[in-house]
Every structure is written in structure tokens, then in C-alpha cells.
């Protein structure tokens, strides 16, 4: 059984400080939904409101269509995996997993049987008698998942559960989490500040900044069609050029960036309508590093500008070329590793361009900090 979760105008205040501001989102039953945002943006706080450890100051949380206000964490059909896992160190792995059954007075044998089933589910067969401290990081992770699943929740809440793991293990656990979610078929609400994590696992993501939900959409939408400058820069890399609108026609805006004219398509709001930008508005035009190309040799280069190469970084499947434009702006240009860069040497000047459709024009607003 899985349930949908709906946040209606949820705000959470600590004194005068709002850790969450008017958050509205409906998470479908059986969906893998991630809240993605930088550290301190209010993700944990929001999750605590869903799990019942915190009551929203305003608005309400509905689970399965039922208003949860006044219902404690032990009475909600949710189960929370804590940022630090919070396994019980003095109990065996099996006792940890079966704790919720012990609480309900399930017999010892039935508890053990269920614990073994769950250990199978998370690929930890036969580890039930170990103590928690005898497990590796990834194994602890799985025990926490199994313990949370033992209550048969309709919604599983995960608070950055992979953050303590090393990169390889994290990537492995991503796939595994996704597989577990599909096997048990319940709603997963996942919290992370790691966009890679959010994009690889989720059906949809909600990008948060400073207590606000900036955009909700599929991973593809959030990456390809960001609604705000924050989302554009937080999810993936982006080159941002600030300027003023010179002309708008058919959702293409011509923007004057310090004397150079660039064209890009006008971005859409969270609701899906084009942003209402007019001539003279302050806007930012965003171009992904991989959407840039060398102007030299292109047939009819548009949106050209020249820049000096500073450094070239090899990053496995990509090469990142860092440049400075003649307006002293940092530019990042990515090419596949197979691309021959032997004539691109630091210090040389190159001409870059981008396609109008691949650039997005959004009204000015705060960017994500690097």
C-alpha cells in the first residue's frame, strides 16, 4: 500500500525565522520524489513536518488525503530514515529491524522471520546476529532501510541517507534504493543536496532554496527547463549572462549583454507559462557548458563571443575548459573527452557560440552559490 502526500501552504517558523515558506506540492502514491536543495535550505525541517515530529506553523500536511495535523509520528503511515541513521547500537541487526514489531508485541519467532525477510530484501542475508558496529557504512544503510520498512509504511521518508558513504558506494546504493522502491511499491520522499543523486533516482524532484520550493518537475524538466535562476545554476552547471531585453518575439528574447546581443528562448514559470518578459527588463541568459560550441567551422554561427582559455580539466568522460570573456566573465565550456583539444592551449583566444534554442532567458534573481 502506498499513499500520496500533499503539502498545502506549509510554512514552518522557528521564532521569527521561517525554515519553510508556503510550500505547496502533491507527491503521488508510489512516486520516488526528491527534495533537492543546498545545506540549510529547510529540507530536514520539511521532512520532519511530514513525519510528524514537527507541526507546520501554517498550512497542512495530507497523507492519503487525510489531514495529519495533531497526529504524532508513531500514528502516521510514514517511516523516517534519519540523516545519521540512528540505528540502536546496543541491539543486534535483527533486533534493530524488528524493533517496531517488538513494540507491537509480535512473538520472537515471527519477529526473527520478518527480520530475515527484510534482510533478504536489502541483500544482507544472514547478518542478523551481528552488532551494528560490526557493519560497514553501506550495510548500516541497508539495515536502516530494512528497519524503516518493517513498519510497512505507506510513505518512506529518507533524509540524506547516503551522505556518509563514499562515492562508489553511493552510486551503488542509488541503484539499489531505486530497485527497493520499485519492489515495495511505496511512496519514497528523498532528501538530498546532491543533484546527481536526485536526478538519477527520482521520478520527480522539487528544488528548494531558502525555505521555498522553487520548481517541481521531472528530472529532465528541471535540468532542461529551469524556472528560476537558482534552479538553472543549482541543477547542473550553467553559464549565466546578465543583460537587458532588447526585443521579444514568439518566445525568443534578444538580450543585450554588455554591448553584445544574444538570443535565447524565454523560460517557463513553475506553472508552465512563459515568463512575461518585456523590453527593458533585467534578465539572465543561461547556456549550459555542453551547449557551447566552437564558432570556427560552424556554418552560420549565432550568438558568438570570444574568450581566453585559462585552464583545461580532464574529468573522465568530459573535458572542462575554463575561459575568461573579454568582459572578464568566467565561462565554462565542456566537450566530450574524445574531442581533440590539442590546438586549444591556455592563453589562446577562441570564438564560441550557442544555439538560440539551447539558451534560456529568465527574469533576474538570485543564483545558487558555487
Amino acid at each position: 500500500m502506498s499513499a500520496d502526500v500533499e503539502l498545502q501552504g506549509v510554512s514552518i517558523a522557528f521564532g521569527d525565522f521561517y525554515a519553510a515558506k508556503n510550500v505547496n506540492v502533491k507527491i503521488e502514491a508510489g512516486e520516488f520524489f526528491s527534495f533537492l536543495g543546498p545545506s540549510g535550505c529547510g529540507k530536514t525541517t520539511l521532512l520532519r513536518a511530514v513525519s510528524g515530529f514537527l507541526e507546520p506553523s501554517e498550512g497542512k500536511v495530507l497523507i492519503g488525503g487525510q489531514n495529519m495535523s495533531g497526529i504524532g509520528p508513531n500514528k502516521r503511515p510514514t517511516s523516517l530514515i534519519f540523516q545519521n541513521l540512528a540505528l540502536f547500537p546496543l541491539m543486534s541487526v535483527a533486533d534493530n529491524i524488528a524493533f517496531s514489531l517488538e513494540v507491537r508485541g509480535v512473538s520472537k519467532q515471527a519477529r526473527r522471520k520478518r527480520a530475515d525477510e527484510l534482510l533478504d530484501l536489502v541483500a544482507l542475508n544472514g547478518q542478523g546476529d551481528k552488532k551494528v558496529h560490526e557493519l560497514s557504512g553501506g550495510q548500516k544503510q541497508r539495515v536502516a532501510i530494512a528497519r524503516a520498512l518493517a513498519v510497512e509504511p505507506e510513505v518512506l521518508l529518507l533524509d540524506e541517507p547516503l551522505s556518509a558513504l563514499d562515492l562508489k558506494l553511493r552510486q551503488k546504493m542509488r541503484t539499489e534504493l531505486r530497485a527497493i522502491q520499485q519492489r515495495v511499491g511505496i511512496t519514497f520522499i528523498y532528501i538530498t543536496h546532491d543533484q546527481g543523486e536526485a536526478l538519477t533516482m527520482s521520478d520527480r524532484v522539487g528544488v528548494m532554496n531558502d525555505g521555498q520550493l522553487e520548481q517541481v518537475g521531472s528530472c529532465y524538466e528541471v535540468y532542461q527547463a529551469p524556472s528560476t535562476p537558482f534552479v538553472a545554476t543549482f541543477v547542473g552547471e550553467n553559464n549565466a549572462f546578465s543583460g537587458k531585453v532588447e526585443k521579444v518575439s514568439k518566445s525568443i528574447a534578444k538580450v543585450n549583454v554588455e554591448g553584445t546581443s544574444f538570443s535565447g528562448s524565454v523560460g517557463r514559470t513553475t506553472l508552465g507559462d512563459p515568463h512575461p518578459v518585456g523590453v527593458g527588463d533585467d534578465v539572465i541568459i543561461f547556456v549550459r557548458p555542453e551547449s557551447l560550441s566552437l564558432a570556427k567551422g560552424a556554418k552560420a554561427p549565432k550568438n558568438n563571443f570570444s574568450a581566453d582559455i585559462e585552464t583545461i580539466e580532464f574529468e573522465g568522460n568530459l573535458k572542462n575548459i575554463y575561459l575568461k570573456s573579454n568582459k572578464n566573465k568566467s565561462i565554462r565550456f565542456s566537450v566530450p573527452s574524445v574531442f581533440d583539444t590539442s590546438d586549444l592551449t591556455p592563453g589562446s583566444t577562441i570564438e564560441l557560440s550557442f544555439a538560440t534554442e539551447s539558451a534560456i532567458v529568465l527574469p533576474s534573481g538570485p543564483l545558487a552559490l558555487d
Partner: protein, 303 residues
């Protein structure tokens, strides 16, 4: 040892070594060994000490078990009775103390805001600036026949006649419990403070009741602190003198009062030493037994 010197510098290290050695040898080892030796010697006037009569003997230990040679009883019922009473009461006081301090320590460690924590700790410590004897008298004033509590209860009409709290040993139990409360609260507080609050929340999220969370998670976590606090309170209660002298009823006798009598009033240091050693050995044995039963390693207690 070399590491210790390197870490602290040679002057500080030497000072520590000398201080600890002095403390161990002169203040603990030598007096206790002297007492042990004394307890096996007859009580002789100064002139005869070291003479032919000064031989090792068990007479003082025999006296504790069988009584004086002139008594008709098979065993020394009076002294043994006092001893058993003392140990029993000390156990009871330790249990009361634990039950009383656990919620307070838990509240301070896990529930109170940082400001409230500071305030509460101060409120606990400040009364202990007053010395033990005065505190005992204060409790006597509270519980006396004409005391504050009796007067209050009488005035409110809850009592028809004054209750003799002293004779019922209510005052003694209260006084002894209060006397060493800090030695229970602080080890408990230290242990509870290190408990990850997320574990409490995780237990709650999994549907656990408050009582079960304490039973399965908090108490096991705080076991070493409980053992450490209980040990100290038990040892000190069993060895208390001032509080029982002030607060016990006329027919209650504390074992330390017996020891005191042998040393001071009867001028029989040997017998006093023997009685002290008996108290020490039985208390330590009891503590070790309890630690065995509750599976606490001695290293955990002093952590």
C-alpha cells in the same frame, strides 16, 4: 609512559606522577594497610605494644560474629543486626536515589533548553555549598514533631496529630537520599547526554512507547552511568556518619556509629579497624556482585 611525557611536557608530567604516587601511597595505601594490620592485633595499652602479647589474632573479627565472651548469645546479634540494617538501608537509599535522579537527569540532558539546563544544574549544586551537617539539621527541622512539614499538614487539616517522622526514619531516608544526590545525577547526566536524540525519535517513529524507549534504548545506553552513580551513592551512604547521627531515630543505629564508638569512646582502635575493614570488604564485594549481575565492566564505570 614516554607518550605521556611527550604530550604533557616533563615538568607537568613529573608533577602528576609525584602527586598521584603520593596520593595513592600516603593517603590511601599506607593508612589502609595500617588499619588492616591493626585489625589483626589485640588492643593493648601503649606500653605492651610490640611485646610478647602483640601477636596476630582474629579476636576482633570473632567479636563481630560471636559477640563478647561474656555474652550468652551464640552470635553477636546486635552488631550483625546493625550491619545488615545499614547495608539494607544503603541499598534502599541507592534505589530511591536512582529512581528520583533518573528522570531529573534525563530531563536536564535531553529535554530542557540549554538555559534551563544551566539553571537546573546551578539549583542542584548551590545547596551543596552548605555543609553536610547543616543540611542534615535543616532536614531535621523540616521533619521534627513541631517541624515545618507537620505544622503545614496540621494546619491544612490533613493530619489530626503530628507524625513522628524521625522515629519512622523518614527523615533519615530523606537525608541520606539527598546527601549524595549529585553523585547520582552527574554520572547519569553525563551518560544520558551522549545519547543521540535521533535514537529517541527513531524509537518513537517506530511506534515505541515512552516506557519501552527508556527500557530498551535509554537505560542500556546509560548503564555505565547508572552503575557508576549507584556505586558511589551506595558506598558513601553505607559509610555515612554525620547524617545518621543527626537524623536517625533513637533506636536506629548506623554501622559507622559503631566504628566511631570503638575508635573514640572505647579507645579500641584495633576493633574499630576490624569493623571498618568488614564494612569496606562487604561493600566492595556487594558492588562487584551487582556489576557482575548487570554485566557492567569495571572499566565502564570509571569512564
Amino acid at each position: 609512559m614516554g607518550g605521556f611525557f611527550k604530550k604533557n611536557g616533563s615538568i607537568i608530567s613529573t608533577f602528576f606522577l609525584i602527586a598521584i604516587t603520593f596520593w595513592l601511597i600516603f593517603l590511601i595505601l599506607i593508612p589502609q594497610l595500617y588499619m588492616l594490620d591493626l585489625s589483626f592485633r589485640p588492643n593493648l595499652p601503649p606500653l605492651l605494644r610490640g611485646g610478647p602479647d602483640d601477636v596476630y589474632t582474629l579476636t576482633h573479627y570473632k567479636h563481630f560474629v560471636f559477640g563478647s565472651e561474656t555474652s550468652k548469645d551464640a552470635y553477636n546479634y546486635v552488631d550483625i543486626g546493625v550491619f545488615v540494617d545499614t547495608i539494607g538501608t544503603a541499598i534502599l537509599v541507592t534505589i530511591i536515589n536512582l529512581c528520583f535522579c533518573y528522570p531529573i537527569a534525563f530531563y536536564i540532558a535531553k529535554l530542557a533548553t540549554p538555559n534551563a539546563t544551566r539553571l537546573l544544574i546551578l539549583a542542584l549544586i548551590i545547596p551543596f555549598w552548605i555543609n553536610e551537617l547543616l543540611r542534615s539539621f535543616a532536614i531535621r527541622i523540616l521533619f521534627a514533631g513541631e517541624g515545618v512539614i507537620n505544622n503545614l499538614l496540621l494546619e491544612m487539616g490533613l493530619l489530626d496529630a503530628a507524625v513522628n517522622f524521625i522515629a519512622l526514619d523518614v527523615a533519615l531516608y530523606t537525608g541520606l537520599t539527598y546527601a549524595y544526590i549529585l553523585l547520582m545525577i552527574f554520572p547519569l547526566y553525563n551518560a544520558l547526554e551522549t545519547l543521540d536524540t535521533n535514537q529517541l525519535e527513531a524509537a518513537k517513529d517506530l511506534g515505541s512507547s515512552t516506557i519501552r524507549t527508556h527500557w530498551r534504548i535509554v537505560i542500556p545506553h546509560a548503564k555505565a552511568g547508572i552503575a557508576s552513580g549507584s556505586t558511589m551513592v551506595f558506598m558513601l551512604t553505607a559509610g555515612a556518619l554525620a547524617t545518621p547521627v543527626v537524623l536517625s531515630s533513637p533506636n536506629t543505629f548506623w554501622f559507622t556509629q559503631l566504628i566511631y564508638q570503638w575508635f573514640n569512646m572505647n579507645d579500641n582502635w584495633s576493633r574499630g579497624s576490624a569493623y571498618s575493614i568488614i564494612l569496606l570488604v562487604v561493600s566492595v564485594a556487594f558492588v562487584l556482585l551487582m556489576m557482575r549481575i548487570f554485566r557492567v565492566a569495571i572499566g565502564e564505570v570509571v569512564r
